[in-house]
Amino acid sequence: MNDNRELLVEVKDLKTYFFLDEGTVKAVDGADFNIRRGETLGVVGESGCGKSVTARSILNIVPKPGKTVAGEILYHRKIKGAEQTLDLTQMAPQGDEMRGIRGAEIAMVFQEPMTSLSPVHTIGNQIGEAIRLHQGLDPDTARDLAIKTLSLVGMPLPERTIDQYAHQLSGGMRQRAMIAMALSCHPSLLIADEPTTALDVTTEAQILTLMRRLQDELGMAIMYITHNLGVVAQMTERVVVMYMGKVVEQADVDTIFYDAQHPYTRALLQSIPRLGQKTHDRHRLASIKGMVPDPYALPKGCAFHPRCGAVKPGLCDQVEPTMVEIAPGHKVRCHLCANRA
């Protein structure tokens, strides 16, 4: 797919490892993808595939003993009309420059709104803090701006909510407060890590509608991390599928759902029950056999080969496949697709 929007973030061969007593966990082991300005990118995969660590690597907040050991994260920013490219992996996590980007230019919404909001500060306090730190405004102006942001995210009675604590709000309202905090400084990239997973389906619908509206209004790029394929189909333009720390397939959303090439992507799509699909006889779901491998002892060759239905012995269990672009914008990491390039 041709897309001439400017690049915002380029992740190149990113490797983030966790050095534990039991061994090294290669949480992210070669992630390559780009995010363009104003685009919605979906990152999909099962728990432990490295999607959250990838997001944290971009923000430079990988928890210890994790460390980005290789690769580049190029962030293209515009300052007063001048273009500037920064490699986020080279910046000090606590340095002024990184702290100036984090929260202001790249913001994040987390999965659990209860644990990611402070229980001892009011909502206004927390949103105001981001505004004061990044925009250097005085407390009164910051408060006005916080109220404005809260009404932007559809919070009922923002003048009252601003003085409430997280525990006084419902799950959906908390997530709105989180989104308000993330948006308060008009970021160019919003990373949303499973923002609706903890919510009920009708609340989820409210939040998804809200995020789509905000993106139209504010024009930021969104990196949407989720394991819910329904959310991916409805919210994203391009999709990155991850398995055991590696990007195994990436393409535009229509290609992923209608012309997926990697056996893992196909198996994932077939294993979900879909509304309206029930037939009179009970069909079985196509499940992926086995389970996600032990991160301490990854299988040799392609990490998916022990669970793959199309495995070629002697190739898939020996040689690690490389990423191949089989069509413009459609990349697959699989031996079986390699000769189609």
Binding site: A205, P273, R274, I288
Partner: protein, 348 residues
Amino acid sequence: MAENGAERPLLLEVKGLKKYFPIRKGFFSTRTVGYVKAVDGVSFFIREGETLGLVGESGCGKTTTGRLILRAYEPTGGEIWFNDRKMGRVNVTNLDRQQLKQLRQNMQMIFQDPYSSLNPRMTLLQIVGEPLLVNGVARGGDLQDRVAELLRVVGLRPEYMTRYPHAFSGGQRQRIGVARALALNPQLVVCDEPVSALDVSIQAQTLNLLQDLQAEFGLTYLFVSHDLSVVEHISDRVAVMYVGKLVESARTQQLFLKPLHPYTEALLSAVPKPDPRRRTEPIVLQGDVADPANPPSGCYFHPRCRYAIERCSQEEPQLRELGEEHFVSCHRADELSLQGVASAAMAV
């Protein structure tokens, strides 16, 4: 399934089931200042060998309903009639301790969280064998044989018997929970969100396992879940709850294709469709779920309902049968024509 289902005898019949949790004020005093009506007059039935899906959002009382049926909670009111294999048709709410122990051999539960529902200090042999031991069904070598067989049935290796739960993944732990529930060969299994903590690929394995076991042992499931796609997949009939009340129940296809309650319609529309070519257009409900301690007047759903008329805020609708086995509690159910889900073709 649905065709021959009608002739099957009832296994469970719930009538006007209620559970009110008291709200107490003060640290030491036990002055009751109100009640959370977690379950408020719920009626439904389950036939032998079928799966009833119970759906609703968090706090709607679906889990409480499941627990009341096993009398893990004492009901505040209502009747639970169960057709026990040995005791015959009994009202669960009236049984004494001895009878309850007997009853629970035929009613078991699978829990949501496979991490907290298994004792980390017990081996698989102890976990799965406990129901057999407590009820004097098997002991010693016989017990080991039975546990080995149960583990095999749920797809685990019998050699794992001496291991502890921490050695297993989420999906495997859920299989251990299933093996424990099946140990006494129960008639009814209450599955409380059994797959919601699992990854998609593991979720499919577990759902398939539950279906295989149902076919093999003639099990009856009450399947409690908030995930409508999963419920549609596994259930013969579905019941929808909202703030402690049952608002609609029908055969699965009927409910999903032609819902009669506006809340069901909104729920179905809100599920994001895993197909980028079909845009989900959710009916976005305004506001939050009603507070079960202080519910609105009339129909509990009326403040969020886009079809609400004056009557809805004054008079509480009763559950009535509209069409064969299609129960709904909505004043306007006959006049409204609501949107269900269209039949989905497989994308891949």
